[in-house]
């Protein structure tokens, strides 16, 4: 054994591989539900996307001369594919999944140098690129009864954009329980709020993620939704819509909390989450897309290095400026 080995001489047993596996496990309930709900086309798209990511990663590793088996086996490429698939329309053509896979792995991750080096969430890089490049294929949705239709958020934007009051078409929107359970149209894995919340709580319990990003993201988003709804209920939907529709819970627990691209300090994570929540609301309400999670996450990913630079934990025994604490002689009584 090498004498250069330093302490500690034991380990918690955590590994990158086990971390990725636990995230997949947390995603499994919502995924299974989505695949069941949307059927065979969704299943094939899901598999094509994941296999595409694995293939893209293997190709990139080969080109870079890194050991393919070692890096591929950490599971991060598969997880990226999984998250990308969950954010795609279930009926998107197969080549959307494959192209997205290559965009995510090659452009979103490997050009930065591989795992741990990428600045942006790779799945979101792909989703945004696909959304901008193929708007038609990326916004064709099916409802649970197989009929084409808009998502809840899309429907609201269309109607309010035409000047209709929210109250006038509330009956045509899904019920809160349907939105909660996931009996609505949407991306493959974002519809069941209950199952996503379950997965998120699992990640918190296993300490894969901490509470800071989900709480600040949801808190900010729902605070804004509540305030704006109170100001003008005819135009701005309430908190239940923003919480249960779209990619809110998938984003809060699985996308924004991506370990590599989010800040490392607790304060930084709170700021990051709040920024995501704010941007999600702004984009959903005033921008050109009905859903804003992917854009919000990427914009805040861009700010992460700055957040990490300015929001560091206070060092033990020092004040915020880095100077040693000073106890005046009279202050040290218990």
């Amino acid at each position: 054994m090498s004498l250069l080995i330093s302490s500690p001489h034991t380990h918690s047993g955590k590994s990158v591989h086990s971390t990725m596996l636990l995230v997949m496990l947390a995603l499994a309930p919502a995924t299974v539900f989505g695949l069941y709900l949307f059927g065979l086309p969704a299943i094939s798209l899901f598999l094509i996307t994941i296999l595409g990511c694995a293939l893209a990663e293997a190709m990139a590793l080969k080109i870079m001369g890194k050991p393919v088996g070692k890096y591929l086996s950490d599971g991060s490429a598969i997880l990226t594919g999984w998250l990308l698939a969950l954010s795609l329309p279930p009926t998107a053509p197969w080549w959307i999944g494959l192209l997205g896979a290559f965009l995510a792995i090659i452009i979103g991750k490997q050009v930065f140098g591989g795992i741990g080096q990428n600045l942006f969430n790779p799945a979101m890089v792909a989703r945004v690129a696909l959304l901008i490049s193929f708007p038609l294929e990326m916004t064709t949705w099916v409802t649970v009864d197989g009929v084409s239709g808009a998502t809840t958020l899309g429907h609201i934007r269309t109607e309010t954009g035409q000047g209709h009051s929210l109250a006038s078409f509330t009956d045509s929107l899904p019920s809160v329980s349907d939105m909660g359970l996931g009996m609505i149209g949407g991306s493959m894995g974002e519809t069941s709020a209950v199952l996503l919340l379950l997965g998120g709580l699992f990640l918190l319990w296993k300490r894969i993620i901490t509470w800071h990003i989900p709480v600040s993201l949801l808190g900010t988003l729902l605070l804004l939704a509540g305030v704006m709804h109170a100001i003008n209920p005819d135009v701005y939907p309430g908190v239940e819509v923003h919480l249960l529709a779209g990619a809110t819970l998938l984003g809060a627990f699985f996308i924004a909390t991506d370990l590599v691209t989010s800040p490392v300090s607790a304060t930084g994570q709170l700021i990051f989450g709040a920024g995501c929540g704010l941007l999600v609301y702004v984009i959903r309400t005033w921008a050109g897309y009905p859903e804003g999670m992917a854009f919000a996450v990427m914009l805040m990913n861009a700010l992460t290095p700055l957040i990490d630079h300015y929001f560091r934990p206070r060092i033990y025994g020092r004040d915020r400026k880095g100077e040693p604490l000073n106890y005046a002689s009279g202050e040290n009584k218990p």
Binding site: S7, P8, H9, H11, T19, S76, G116, S265, R314, N332
Partner: protein, 496 residues
Amino acid sequence: MKLFRIRGGVHPHDCKTLSADKAIEDLPMPSLLHIPLQQHIGAAAKPAVKRGDHVLKGQLLANSQGMISAPIHAPTSGRVVGVGHYPAHHASGLSVHTITLQPDGKDEWIELSPPADPFALDPAEIATRVAAAGIVGMGGATFPSAVKLNLRNRYKLHTLVINGAECEPYLTCDDRIMREYSANVIDGIRIMAYALGVENIIIGIENNKPQAQAAMREAATTFPNIQVVGLPMRYPMGSEKHLVQTLTGLETPARGLTADIGIVVHNPATALAVRDALREGKPLVSRVVTVSGGAVRQPRNLRVLLGTKVQDVIDHCEGFNVEPARLISGGPMMGNLLPDTRVPLVKGCNGILALTAKEVSENQESPCIRCASCVQACPCGLLPLEMAANARAGNLDAVTKLGLMDCIACGSCSYVCPAHIPLVQYFNYAKGELASRQRAKHKQDETKRLIERRNERMAAQERAKKEMMERRKREAAAKKAAAAAAAAKTAQEASA
């Protein structure tokens, strides 16, 4: 009593059941003792004996040097067979100055002369006796204890904290000491508090040691100023400043001491050694060591004479059942690798662990995934992933700015890292490199100073030489003028 929360920390498997129920037993007399002269922080002790001398147990073998140092005493009676070099209790396996003693089997003490009543002594006298007994911090730090007992003149002290946390996995020697010698430990604690001039005493013991807590509470019953407090099981609870913060809420300033906030911390084994020195007049010649780990056939808590070889204690525990993957001095979180079993046991060694491959769970390093586990685990509020990245890139100034000197090397960050990055190793490398640069700079400054002085000296010589030439020139000119004048005078006389 209200406890305060420290940041970070981890929960390693405590693995204390292997040895927690093994009572302390004496190791049989070894055939040879190798007693290093450097078993403490500070200057190495200087030999006071030579080869061939016969010594008694407790006799001075080596004198302390300077203010921060500690003397070395004979662990048993016998003959000095060598004063030379022997492998150090260190991963490097380098040699250190060592006295080799061959026991005569009699274990015969010198004449001991304890004071009649320690509490009648002047506090400074207590510190002097503790220093003379060679007592150092027995939790592993080995800082000379007398220096800490002499702080009352420079700091306004109010509390003595006894560090019974023993938060390292596997180790149970403090646990056993507090269970089996609780009355003596309390006595030593009171002596130390008297020397420090403090009234308030807090003994912090982690909650995985309920019997130790009970024994200490019982021993402290008649002393209302002593509190025995249960501590949460959280590594590194045994870190001096984190222990103090947990118990009092006070945070020790960076680059400062716990004494800056009025508190002094000592270890229960140190208290026991102080008690033995002040009640029985005995210097520090032995200590309790936990021998444990999955590779040890029969884990034990042994009272060993200082200078005993690791091999001797392993043999007494019936040897290895498998070849250990790592042999460690101390606990698994902060312990040092040992090169082999020939090295001697020293004052600061509280554990010998022979860990199996499964216990060590060695894995290959992989890229950092910035999961922030190390940030959450760090009890000092650092960013270990950033520090390691900068160390790897050679940006040592950035590592320093990020708090390298505030790092206590507890190992929590490496412990939780899912990528198995040896973060502590990067920090040790950075500290070593910075120290090396500091030495090089100092040497360079010294060289520069010497060159400047040489240049000044050469310039002075040059000036002196020039002055001499000027003077000679003037003298020659004067002589020439005089000669000319004389010649003129002669000519004038001739013409007259």
